[in-house]
Symmetry: C2
Subunit: 561 residues, 2 copies
C-alpha cells in the first residue's frame, strides 16, 4: 500500500511538472501576441524616475539634455509628469455636477426648483448648478495653467524612443553612476497608467514599500481573530460552552449541520470579501505606476494572505519550523470536511454568483432610487484579477494537498473547476472588457503557487510517514521536494526572463517589420502625446448656459478630445 | 549600566554604518579607475555561451550570423573557444622536457649519460630528451591542427564590439527567446581567462553549480569532526579521560597551559590551511570563466566556512532556530579566552609568517635538492585573496561580536590589524604582482561580512538581555538588527549595481574620449586576437637538435610569439 502511495506521489509529481510545462506554451503565446499587435506606445516608451535636476533648469530640460547626450540616435520625445491631484478632484466634481444637470434637463417632471439660503428664496436648479459648474471650470482652468508650470513638475517622465529596441536598451542599462537616479522601468499602456500616485524619489518609494510590507504582515496577523472565531463555530461543543442558552437549538440535527457545515465558511467568506480591496489599496500606495502592476502585486498579497489565513490558520499551524511537517500531517487531514464544505460554499457559490454578478446587481438595485441620474453612462466592468486568481489558485492548493489525504474533495473540486471554466469563459467573452492587456503577465504567479502547493503536499506526506513511524518511506519521499525546487529553479531561468522583458531578437525583428510601414510616421506623431496626463487635456462641460446639450459628445468621451 | 550599554550599542551601530559608507568611496575609486585605464580588450568584449548551432554550420558561422543580424553597427569580431585540454597537457610536458634539457646543458658537471633499456646501453641524455621533445612537438602540431577544426569548437565565443557601450548593451539585453541560449557575460581580462574549464551548455553548468553547492555543504559539515577533536583538547579533564597515561604530564603547569592555550588553535590552523585550496578547486569546477571569479567565489565559500566552523561550531550552536540568540548569548562569552588565544596564534603568527612567506620558503628549501633546474625562471607570486580576505574578515567578526562581551580581545585585535596593515601594504607594494585587476570587486564581500557581524552581535545582545531577564532591554535593542538590514538593503540598491557593471553614462563618456584617439585602430587590430587560446599559439622549443640554445628567448616568453 505504501509502495502504491509512493508510485502515486512520484507519478503525480511528474504529471504536475508536465502540466507546469504550460509555462513554455504561455511564453510562446506571449511572444506571438507581441508579434501580432500593432505598434503600441508602451512598446516604445520607458518611465524614468528620480530625475536629478540641477539648479536653474526644469525637469523637462534635464530629461532632454540627458537623453540627447546618451541616446541621441534613438531618443524621440518625452512627457514630464505633473502634480495633478487637485485638478483631478476638480474634474471629478465637475463631472458629478454635469451629470446632475443633464439629469435635471432630461427629466422635466422632477422638481426643477429648490429653496436655498437663509431667506429660502426659490432657485432654478439648472441655473444654480450651471453657475456652480462654471465656477469649477474657471478653477480648473486656473489650476491647469498652474499645474503646467515647471514648478509643479514631478521628477518623473515618460521617455519615448524611435524603436522598441532603443527603449529596451535604455530600460536594461543602468543609466547613471548613482543607481538611484534615472531609474528606468518599462512604461505601461497609456490608459493603464495610475495617475494619482506618482511618488518620484527613490528613497520615498523604497520606504513606502517597506511600510506596505509591514502593513500586510500586520493585516495577515490581525485577521486571525475572525478566523479563530470561525474555527470555534465549527466545533459544536465549544459553541455550547460559550453560549449555553443555545443548547436546545443546537441539538436539532439540521441546525447543527448548518452551523458546522456552512456557517463557518460563510462568515469567513464575508470577511474575505474585504481583503482584495484592502490589498489593492496597499499595493496602490506602494509606488506602482499602473493598474496592472497594482493588481499583480495585490494578487500576490491576496494569494499568500488566503493561503496563510485559511489553510494554515485553519489547520492551526504556528511558528515552530522544526515540526511543521509533522504538525501539518496531523492537522491537515482533520480539516478535510471543513475544506470540502469550503469548496461547496465558497467555490460553487462564488462562481455561480460570478455568473449573475450578484453583488454588483444588488448594489445597483439599492443605489438606483437614490442616484439622480438613471441613464448614467454604463461602463463595461473589467475583471478584478486580484480577487479571482487567488481564489482559483487556493482551490488548486486544496486539490493538490488533499489528493492523497482525502480524495473525497476531488469530485467537488472537479465540479468547481468545470463550472469556473465555463463561467469565466463566458464572462471573459461576453461580460468583461479588459482594462489593459496582461500579455500573460499573471502566469508566473500561478506557477509559483502550484510549486508551493506541490512542496506543501510533499512536506505533508513526509510528516505523515514520520507520524506513522515509517522512516524509510519519508526518506524515500525526501528527494521529491528537492526535485520540485530544482524544477522551479529551471523554469525560473528558462521562462521567467521573457515575462519581465522581451529579448533583443524579438524586439529587433518587430522593429524591422515596421521600418517600411507608411503608418509609422503618424504613429510617432501620436506617440509624443500618448502619455499626456488626462487631467491636463482640455475638457469643457458648459459651453455656455443656454446650450447645455451641445457638449454631451465631448462629455461621453472626455478623455479623447 | 544597561542604559550605557544601549547608548554604546546604538553609537557603535551608527559608527559601523558610517564606516560602511566606505562603499561610496570605493565605488568612486572604481569609476575613477575605469576612467583612468587605457582601452582594455575586456571592456570591449563579452563572452557568449550556449550558442545554438544549426545543422551544417559551425559555431563560428552561427556567431557571425547572429551578431551581424542583431548588432550590425557595433559588432567587431569574435573568437570561438576550442577544446584544448589535451594540447595544454602536451605543452606542459614539452616545457618540462625543455627545462630539463637547458638545465643539463647549462651544468656540464652533471652526468650527461644514463643507461637505458633492457640492454642498458649508454645514451646521451641531451640527445635523448631532445628526441622526446621533438616527438611531443610533432604531437602538438598534429593536435593543434585538429583542435583548430570546427569539430573541436566549444559552443562558447568571445565576441568583441567597436565600443564599450555596444558590448554592455549586448551583455545587459537577453538576446534570444530562449534565455538559456546566447547567454552573455562580461569578458575577463585576456590573461585572467581560466582556459581548462569551458563547459558550455546551460544545463551542465547549472547542474555542476548545484553539485558544488552540495559538496560545499558536505565539506562544512564533515569538517566539524576535527573541530570537535580540537574542542576536546581545550578541555584538560576530557583529555585525561581519553588518554589516562598523559595524566602525569598534564599536571605540569607549562604543558597544560600550552595544551589549553595554543595547541587547539594550532591544530585547527593546520586543518584550515587546506580549506582555501579545496574551495578554490570547487569554485573552479563550478563553471566560472576566469581566475578572478573563481577566487571571488572561493573567498565567499571560505568566509562562510570559517564563520560556521570556527565561530558557530566552537560556541556549539546547532540548528534550533528559535533559541539561537539565547544560545549564542550563553555560549559566546564562554569562548572569549579561546578566541583571544586564536587571535594571538592564528592572527599574529599568520601575518608574521606572511611577511617572511614561511611556507613557500620552507617548500622551496625542501624542493631545491630534488629539482633538476635551480635557475628555473622565477614567477612573481600573486596574492591568494580567497585565503587572506576571509581571515581578516573573521577577525573583524570577532572584534564586532566581542566588543561588549569581552573587550579584552580588542587590544589583541588592534595589534593584529596594525600588523596586518603594515605587512600587507608591504607585500602588495614589494612582493606580490597582481594576476588581474580586481577593480574593487571584492568589496561587496567585505560589506556583507560586516553586516552579518553586526547582526550577529545584535542577536547576541538580545539573547543576553533575555537571559538576564531584561525584556525591556531586549525590546529596545530589537530595532537595531532591522535598521542594519534596511541599511544593507539601501547599500545594495545604491552601490552594488556599479560593482556588477558600469553604467551607460560612464561607458559612453569613455567611448567618446577614445573616438579621436589615433591609437584605437591599432587597438582594434589587437582586439581581434586578444582572446586567442594560448595553447593554440605556435610555440617552438627545439628549433633543430644542433642549435638547442637558439629558442631560449622564445621559451622564456612562449606566450608572446
Amino acid at each position: 500500500m505504501i509502495l502504491g502511495l509512493f508510485k502515486l506521489l512520484y507519478l503525480y509529481w511528474l504529471l504536475s511538472c508536465g502540466f507546469l510545462q504550460e509555462y513554455k506554451c504561455i511564453t510562446g503565446k506571449r511572444i506571438d501576441f507581441f508579434h501580432s499587435t500593432k505598434p503600441q506606445p508602451h512598446q516604445f516608451t520607458i518611465l524614468v524616475r528620480s530625475i536629478p535636476v540641477s539648479a536653474g533648469s526644469s525637469v523637462s530640460e534635464s530629461v532632454e539634455r540627458f537623453f540627447m547626450e546618451y541616446h541621441p540616435s534613438t531618443y524621440l520625445s518625452h512627457m514630464v509628469v505633473h502634480r495633478s491631484s487637485k485638478l483631478q478632484s476638480l474634474i471629478k466634481d465637475a463631472k458629478k455636477l454635469y451629470k446632475r444637470i443633464t439629469h435635471l434637463q432630461s427629466e422635466p417632471n422632477q422638481p426643477q426648483y429648490r429653496h436655498v439660503g437663509f431667506f429660502r428664496h426659490r432657485v432654478d436648479l439648472v441655473d444654480h448648478y450651471g453657475k456652480k459648474l462654471e465656477d469649477i471650470e474657471e478653477n480648473m482652468r486656473l489650476e491647469r495653467s498652474e499645474v503646467s508650470l515647471a514648478t509643479q513638475e514631478v521628477r518623473a517622465a515618460f521617455v519615448s524612443f524611435k524603436s522598441r529596441y532603443g527603449a529596451a536598451v535604455a530600460f536594461h542599462m543602468k543609466q547613471s553612476i548613482n543607481p538611484t537616479e534615472w531609474v528606468t522601468e518599462l512604461a505601461p499602456e497609456p490608459n493603464d497608467v495610475y495617475w494619482p500616485f506618482f511618488s518620484s524619489s527613490f528613497m520615498r518609494r523604497w520606504l513606502s514599500k517597506i511600510v506596505v510590507i509591514v502593513a500586510c504582515i500586520l493585516l495577515t496577523i490581525l485577521f486571525l481573530i475572525p478566523v479563530l472565531v470561525v474555527q470555534g463555530l465549527t466545533n459544536l461543543n465549544q459553541l455550547e460552552i460559550w453560549f449555553p442558552f443555545l443548547k436546545s437549538i443546537l441539538t436539532i440535527t439540521f441546525v447543527s449541520q448548518v452551523i458546522t457545515g456552512y456557517l463557518p465558511s460563510l462568515i469567513l467568506q464575508l470577511f474575505l470579501k474585504i481583503v482584495p480591496p484592502i490589498m489593492e489599496f496597499l499595493s496602490s500606495i506602494q509606488g506602482y505606476i499602473c493598474h496592472s502592476d497594482i493588481e499583480k502585486s495585490a494578487c500576490n498579497k491576496v494569494l499568500w494572505f488566503t493561503i496563510w489565513n485559511i489553510f494554515f490558520a485553519t489547520v492551526s499551524i504556528f511558528l515552530d519550523p522544526k515540526h511543521i511537517p509533522a504538525k501539518l500531517a496531523s492537522a491537515v487531514p482533520a480539516q478535510a470536511s471543513f475544506f470540502i464544505a469550503y469548496v461547496v460554499t465558497s467555490g460553487w457559490t462564488s462562481t455561480s454568483s460570478e455568473l449573475f454578478r450578484i453583488i454588483p446587481l444588488i448594489w445597483s438595485l439599492i443605489r438606483k432610487p437614490f442616484t439622480c441620474c438613471s441613464d448614467e453612462e454604463f461602463e463595461v466592468p473589467s475583471i478584478p484579477y486580484h480577487r479571482d486568481i487567488p481564489r482559483i489558485l487556493f482551490f488548486g492548493l486544496l486539490g493538490i494537498t488533499y489528493f492523497f489525504l482525502a480524495p473525497l474533495i476531488l469530485p467537488f473540486l472537479l465540479v468547481y473547476l468545470c463550472l469556473a471554466y465555463i463561467i469565466y469563459r463566458n464572462q471573459f467573452l461576453n461580460v468583461y472588457a479588459p482594462k489593459y492587456e496582461t500579455a500573460g503577465k499573471f502566469w508566473p504567479i500561478v506557477h509559483n503557487s502550484m510549486i508551493f502547493s506541490l512542496i506543501l503536499m510533499q512536506a505533508i506526506a513526509i510528516g505523515l510517514f514520520t507520524l506513522k513511524k515509517l522512516p524509510l518511506a519519508s526518506t524515500l519521499i525526501f528527494p521529491l521536494p528537492v526535485l520540485t525546487l530544482l524544477f522551479n529553479e529551471y523554469c525560473r531561468k528558462r521562462f521567467l526572463p521573457n515575462f519581465i522583458a522581451y529579448p533583443a531578437e524579438v524586439l529587433i525583428k518587430r522593429d524591422r517589420e515596421d521600418r517600411y510601414d507608411p503608418k509609422m510616421a503618424e504613429f510617432y506623431d501620436n506617440l509624443v502625446a500618448a502619455y499626456q496626463d488626462p487631467a491636463l487635456l482640455p475638457i469643457q462641460f458648459s459651453a455656455n448656459s443656454d446650450s447645455l446639450y451641445s457638449p454631451l459628445i465631448s462629455a461621453a468621451q472626455p478623455y479623447l478630445i
